[in-house]
Point group: C2
């Protein structure tokens, strides 16, 4: 399996602290040693750092922990391969353009019969993972449903939720999807999230000897949500998402979820 990490914030925020914990799970405190990737959005643009090597021993991962890139939306994945070889084209997150935006996709889990259950035509995979295949299928379905014009946020992500459920039914699919502005998180069996806001406190990583006092890094107006497969800190309260549930985060807050609409 793999591990997911994502962030949504209302101000450009770096993810050095959280990533410092997660990267240890790629070959050190965890077995997810088959590559890793992280995508940072800045406005409509985004940049990814990827390596098919273990994150715990990657000079590129080391740079990501030390060079604070400020972003409002981040998607990250460390991989333990079960579908597709260990190589660059099979490394998440996957990014594809649609409706004049960069769409990012990361998946934790494993799918069966995805080639027959999720036939694709318009968006062809480059690698050989079940994950990229499912992402291409989602993009095909979005085009069939909405054509050349992106619909409203709520309509779009409620439809994406039905697609995520379809994929989840083929096995296990914890899914993160983002267009840089919105961050959609679907829980199959393992996804946690925490929203940090004033009054900020301290936090200590589980996977590394590292603590931070968010008071010193933030202003009173900052709102930052972090989503992860497993909690990254041991002195904060994380929400555990239920199976089949999803949240849409925007500017650091949950704005729509499967139970309610509060956009």
């Amino acid at each position: 399996m793999c591990e997911l990490l994502a962030m949504s914030a209302n101000v450009p925020t770096d993810i050095c602290f959280s990533f410092s914990g997660l990267m240890q799970r790629g070959g050190n405190t965890g077995p997810h040693k088959d590559g890793w990737g992280i995508t940072f959005y800045e406005g409509k643009g985004c940049r990814s750092f990827k390596d098919p090597k273990p994150s715990a021993h990657s000079p590129i991962a080391d740079l990501v922990t030390k060079y604070p890139m400020k972003s409002e939306t981040v998607v990250c994945h460390i991989r333990q391969a079960n579908s597709g070889d260990v190589c660059l084209e099979n490394t998440h997150p996957f990014i594809r353009p649609m409706w004049g935006k960069n769409w990012t996709y990361a998946h934790n889990g494993q799918l069966k019969d995805f080639q027959t259950q999720c036939p694709i035509k318009l968006h062809l995979p480059i690698g050989t993972t079940d994950s990229e295949h499912a992402f291409c299928w989602i993009l095909d379905q979005l085009y069939y449903e909405f054509g050349a014009q992106q619909p409203s946020t709520v309509i779009l992500f409620k439809f994406i939720a039905t697609l995520a459920k379809h994929i989840d039914a083929l096995g296990v699919a914890n899914i993160i999807i983002s267009d840089g502005e919105c961050l959609f998180a679907y829980c199959s069996n393992n996804l946690h999230w925490i929203t940090r806001r004033a009054p900020f406190g301290k936090a200590s990583l589980i996977d590394a000897e590292m603590a931070v006092d968010f008071c010193k890094e933030t202003t009173d107006k900052d709102i930052v949500t972090v989503i992860a497969t497993k909690p990254l800190t041991d002195d904060e309260i994380w929400h555990r998402m239920s199976a089949g549930h999803w949240h849409l985060f925007r500017l650091g807050e949950s704005v729509v979820c499967c139970d309610q609409d509060i956009l």
Copy 2:
């Protein structure tokens, strides 16, 4: 204007030496300080490093000079903005999927009337540069001409050459396009290339106090072509491309050019 750098090799080769020279032109020995990007292919996969900040002062560029990533195809660009703001989404190279491959595009020059002369429909730009618009137009034309199936290499790149000429007629367009296997270089007014093969010699950078003895870095079978806006070394003989000419490189060698077919 901007500067281009690209590499085609028959064995995975790092580009640390050439990039060490080029990056100095982004804010130090040259004025191309409005961002930079480099794309490394590994098989069908690729990874890019991008920064809207000057390459000469970028910690990410510093990593690229020190961490030898081996690749058979590399495309790099340092930007001096003239169309579109300085921001991540306007930073080259641009990458888009087509026919199950990653296509990479970098452009040096400036275009007029590109929105009316290169109308686009299927592939929508994310940023605001003339360059990304032209790339989207090329992809639209490829789809109209060949549909869902990639044609043979020679037919494809001869058609791309006609598209490059169309774009070049709108201003200045030195263009690099690659699918990871083939590297196409079109010269509008400024493009040089060199093919290094046994017996290898020494070379000294123009933009940094750095020299290399390729004998110590290579085997007798290695063939490596480097393409750049301006020569990067002052003790080797670079070919200057003529206006309107193009080359298709594969595995380090020019396999087709505008004058002849030798594939």
